[in-house]
């Protein structure tokens, strides 16, 4: 009895702790002010830049991450554990560290950047840098989920497909990937959400230029000092997207087979 009561109290306190701040966003702004903010250039620029860059970085993560996840789920090769650890690293790495690391690699005088500079290619403080920062921090979310989904596909289906004449390519595209589909989609959505929320690495490596590198989180940080309505409006949009992400992942990961 006392135990149940204790759990109930702890649970309510925690739920309030999570929901009150989110609800406060909605309580602190009038609907008209919210609508008005949506027409402001700083908000629109950030919104479109965020959606475009997060979409591109998710596509890049999927293109590179899918074969990597499949290989690591199916083949044992020397150094596989090292590859696994390295792909997971960005999850635990503080974004500020990712930011300065990317700058040291791709900045104008960076390890790679100094050679790109010879060809007149500058990455740091451009939209490309925004995308690179997002790919760096978001990739593990997709790769981990994709690897787990591939591991969950029974090898028997792949063996059966091969006895029926399917090449390794056909097996991957007609059997393994379709059977892992739900997990791949939810991994891509999580990766997209992480890319959308990326702040630390972006502001250090890409800077904070409206229309070019100022994504939504950066715009919230910037407008908060002057136009609080714009900051709250952007925050509300991100909250709505976050809810949509969670809901979509829940629906997609419901097992069909």
């Amino acid at each position: 009895m006392i135990f149940t009561l204790l759990v109930a109290v702890l649970l309510s306190l925690f739920l309030l702790f999570v929901t009150i701040p989110v609800a406060s966003l909605f309580l602190r702004i009038a609907p008209e002010a919210f609508i008005r903010s949506l027409t402001e250039p700083v908000v629109l620029d950030a919104l479109s830049l965020s959606l475009v860059t997060a979409t591109i970085s998710t596509v890049i993560v999927v293109i590179f991450g899918t074969p990597l996840a499949l290989a690591n789920a199916r083949y044992d090769y020397p150094g596989r554990d090292i590859v696994d650890t390295l792909t997971d690293l960005p999850i635990v790495l503080p974004p500020a560290v990712a930011g300065i690391a990317l700058l040291m690699a791709f900045g104008r005088r960076g390890v790679v950047g100094q050679y790109l500079d010879l060809f007149g290619i500058h990455i740091a403080f451009t939209t490309v840098a925004v995308i690179l920062a997002q790919v760096f921090v978001a990739s593990p979310f997709y790769i981990r989920q994709a690897k787990a989904s591939f591991e969950a596909v029974d090898r028997l289906y792949e063996d059966a497909a091969r006895t029926l004449g399917a090449s390794p390519w056909t097996v991957a595209f007609r059997v393994t990937i379709p059977l892992a589909w739900g997990g791949l989609i939810s991994g891509a959505i999580l990766s997209f959400a992480r890319a959308l929320g990326e702040f630390g690495a972006t502001i250090m490596f890409a800077g904070n230029y409206q229309g070019r590198t100022q994504t939504m989180p950066l715009a919230i940080y910037t407008t908060m000092q002057g136009d609080l309505d714009a900051a709250i409006s952007l925050a509300i949009i991100l909250v709505v997207i976050s809810f949509a992400v969670i809901a979509t992942v829940k629906v997609v990961t419901r097992r069909k087979f």
């Binding site: 059966a160 399917a166 087979f257």
Partner: protein, 237 residues
């Protein structure tokens, strides 16, 4: 005509088997669980490779450690039915049967015609668009068989073909299977645990014990080896 001589080190013992199967002949493999029966089928279809040995199907050498030949599974043209049937759960009955044809350079109308013909022959025509998750054990068995036979394989491997079929349907399914195998007219290797399967399907029996062939001969001959512990309990039921 198919012949195999293969060795492979397994976890507990070394598998070392040699036998051949004539055109139109059905060889049944019996033996304790874990004796290596399913492994033999995997070695033949190419899912596993022998450490040493040679596999010859008709005119083709599928595997030869001496000559360095190892034809990949997808080019062996061997029908392999797994114990659980391994029907693709994300496809309908017709899509499962069409899968192998789609892997080959065959036109869509030809695929459709061939699939329809085999579904009809297996009494599956009405289930063509049903997802395989909704089939009974017997229906799954027929889909798996149709999926393999539609490719006109040169050898048929059946791993416990009736294990997942309901008791009541088993006897009829077994007779039907006998007819399907006979119609295919190719060598066939069946792994089973049940005496009825042996009596109905076997032209010849191989008894596998600890990875080796302990007996190879006509059914009445092998089943008559009452001094063998496995055979004695097998025939007793």
């Amino acid at each position: 005509m198919f012949s195999i001589h293969a060795t492979r080190q397994l976890r507990d013992f070394a598998l070392d088997v040699a036998f051949s199967v004539e055109q139109g002949e059905t060889l049944v493999l019996i033996g304790e669980n874990g004796a290596g029966k399913s492994t033999v089928l995997n070695l033949i279809s190419g899912i596993l490779a022998p450490d040493r040995g040679e596999l010859i199907l008709g005119e083709r050498t599928l595997f030869s450690s001496e000559k360095g030949i190892n034809i990949p599974t997808e080019r062996r043209n061997i029908g392999h039915l797994f114990q659980s049937y391994a029907l693709f759960p994300h496809m309908t009955v017709a899509e499962n049967v069409a899968f192998g044809l789609r892997c080959r350079k065959i036109s869509k109308p030809e695929i459709a015609a061939s699939v329809a013909e085999h579904l009809g022959a297996m009494r599956l025509a009405e289930l063509a668009d049903v997802n395989v998750g909704r089939l009974s054990g017997g229906q799954r068995q027929r889909v798996a068989l149709a999926r393999a036979l539609v490719l006109e394989p040169e050898l048929l491997l059946l791993d416990e073909p009736l294990a997942a079929v309901d008791m009541r349907a088993k006897s009829a399914m077994r007779k039907e299977l006998r007819v399907q195998i006979a119609n295919a007219g190719i060598p066939c290797i069946v792994v089973t645990h049940t005496l009825q399967d042996v009596r109905e399907l076997a032209d010849r029996i191989c008894l596998i014990e600890g990875g080796r062939i302990a007996a190879d001969g006509a059914p009445e001959e092998v089943l008559g080896m009452q001094e063998n512990g496995f055979i004695a309990s097998f025939v007793e039921g």
